[in-house]
Symmetry: C2
């Protein structure tokens, strides 16, 4: 794929809400690395906007860093700014009604993806070495895929979310964007407090049939080459599998059921977390976010019990199926980044959202860590290949990603 | 132990902030059961106070139930009120400066324990069948022990915290109080969306030496009878163990290190979550809570990295050590409930807090589920015996508790 080395200015990127310089508070693995922070994560002395000026104006200045920001600063990182986010993190678009659209430098006519749009853009534009965002339903993984960089969603509950605005806590995570697998491993190992193994023994790499079936044909084609490389370097351990092998429940092989399960829980939680603020402040939203909040407000909450029951069944099925050194392999997104302005205002009537969220729901429901690798493109527009490991095996997954990056990236 | 059947009125209990009647929204496992909700968990149409009138007055009426409250209502439960909590959940006392001290009916001159004081009191006074609370550092387990009822802290991340005020998200959980193991199992199985097994095969019950070493001698004495019963019904699978068996790091056998690890992360997170509100609103606090917030504000945040690193080492050590059907056994608290007014205003200078939090830190650091069982008393004042299972094995633990309750409770 074309790795443009063009340099962008902060202004050209439109990735930042504001820039500043917060020096490292300590010395460690992140010495010499500059990073940016999604503006839904508190930074001491600044107001957090969550991508909406009404949120900013109805909340005080943060008096403390989010714990994850302090981890990075004490490990030697230097923070240079707060990045644009979709409003309240409620989108995969990356087109903010108030703050504009951060640049996708790999394909400027396309969206960067959201909701951690500015963090992805800042890394892809070469303005920082890494950035942090949040990922509830794909908000790190999708923009990383769109912008052709590494992106990680960790196992749920393993990186502190204190000082991060709650959205749907059952799925909320702090994730990482990086321009190289080395930097990704360094940053994630600080946040997760783990050691990334220098050598790993991979079990089976399960290529999930149903996930590839809902992707664009050109995406399936583009990802076939890196999958072949994976087959070669893993010693033929790549194997196609169906979700039916995880659990014989026929519904389980339909990713639409995973999507519905995830969305029901997520929407119920969003309204429980943010509904009171929405109704009390009556903020202005962009049209897409307005519609999204209407969906959460009007959700039939009688569906919560069944959704949580199904989620736990699927979680346990995945846990039984995946051995500690197995991986799942899926396309990160069903297509390359959509063209700007193409997504419409109603996520329920487009074909992109249901497919994208079906793919991202697997890690959410399984509490699994997922890394998207920038291994392919469709006519020079990036598309990520994702690997998922079993719950809690983030260090193993990072070790696998390091190995692949050293062996595959040099061949493409 | 003396199981008083005296009935108390709502007024006598002082357990409630307000009472009302919210009828079930569905029919299921909780049909016919009445419950109460700690006033840190949102109920639609009511203001959540978090035990402090300044919090209540600076936040709008909740427009949605917390997800866990909806789960209970749709499963057939009837909600009758909001219960007193220690301010912002930041205490194990149960003596609220603004709303008073809920009655500990088993020992009226002693505190009920906190922070879920009213929920424990409401169950112990027989006013509800069960109640929900939150447990970050012991706020369900300790009051359940003090009041002589069942209390459960689930595996972290397995019961939704959406609509529950964040305190220290790395450790925050929604927990359950119940007057019987049957009701506990019913409620927990709804919230966790799991099936409690009717028969269980217990592996080894590890009685943690260091945990008993910091308890009062009279507590150790009182708990010896139920442990002997446990040995009998488990087929001699009860075994004394040292924390050194989990990991050869000598520090690990000192529960003070567990306490320091837990407190550093918890205090950092509390200030990240609540510091901005504290500094902006400048609320009045009771003297103990005021002092607690000063501790979090003045924490040396340079200690965060090492605390999180140690936490993950201990978590992984526990995970390797505990098999799926093993249990840890510890005293829930180091002593029976302290006398009212005896705890002073500085938690760092008393002997109760460090010992209590050392015991509760094991589940927090291990992400483990824990149930305290009302199996013993010291001169008619209750003390709980706690069992902890491996991470994610909540259903197994509930099955064990059911078995013990049916076999042990009838003998004492």
């Amino acid at each position: 794929m074309t790795a443009s080395n063009k340099k962008y200015t902060i202004e050209e990127s439109n990735a930042f809400i504001e820039t500043f310089n917060i020096n490292p508070k300590g010395s460690g693995a992140l010495n010499g690395l500059r990073f940016a922070v999604k503006d839904i994560i508190d930074i001491e002395g600044y107001q957090t906007s969550c991508g909406n000026p009404y949120w900013r104006d109805s909340h005080p200045v943060a008096v403390a860093n989010a714990v994850c920001v302090d981890q990075l600063l004490y490990a030697g990182g230097q923070c240079i700014g707060k990045t644009v986010t979709d409003e309240l993190a409620f989108s995969l678009d990356g087109e903010n009604f108030f703050y504009g659209t951060p640049l996708n430098p790999k394909s400027p006519e396309r969206v960067p993806g959201g909701s951690s749009s500015g963090s992805a853009s800042a890394v892809a534009c070469g303005l920082v070495d890494f950035a942090i965002g949040t990922d509830t339903g794909g908000s790190v993984r999708v923009p990383a895929s769109n912008c052709g960089i590494f992106g990680m969603r960790p196992s749920h509950g393993f990186i502190s979310v204190a000082g991060v605005n709650p959205f749907a806590p059952t799925f909320d995570t702090v994730g990482v964007f990086a321009r190289s697998s080395d930097i990704l491993a360094k940053v994630a190992s600080v946040l997760l407090a783990c050691d990334v193994p220098s050598t790993v023994e991979v079990g089976t790499v399960h290529v999930v049939k149903e996930a590839f079936a809902i992707a664009d044909l050109e995406v399936v084609g583009a990802l076939s080459a890196p999958i072949e490389q994976l087959r070669r370097i893993s010693g033929d351990k790549v194997k196609e599998m169906s979700l039916l092998e995880i659990n014989s429940d026929a519904q389980l092989s339909d990713l639409q059921t995973w999507l519905n399960t995830h969305s029901t829980i997520q929407w119920a939680e969003i309204w429980s977390c943010l509904g009171s603020w929405v109704e009390y402040v009556k903020p202005e939203f962009g049209p897409r976010i307005k519609r999204n909040f209407e969906l959460t407000k009007n959700l039939d909450r009688g569906k919560i019990l069944e959704a949580i029951r199904r989620r736990e069944v699927y979680f346990r099925s995945l846990k039984s199926f995946l051995r500690n050194n197995d991986l799942l392999c899926i396309p990160t997104a069903p297509s390359v980044a959509p063209l700007k302005g193409s997504l419409g205002s109603d996520r329920t009537t487009c074909t992109y959202y249901p497919r994208a969220l079906s793919l991202t729901s697997i890690a959410g429901i399984g509490r699994l860590p997922q890394v998207t690798l920038p291994l392919a493109d469709v006519n020079c527009v990036p598309i990520g290949l994702s690997l998922l490991a079993s719950h809690g095996h983030d260090a193993f997954l990072l070790g696998v990603v390091q190995m692949i990056a050293s062996q595959v990236l040099q061949h493409i």
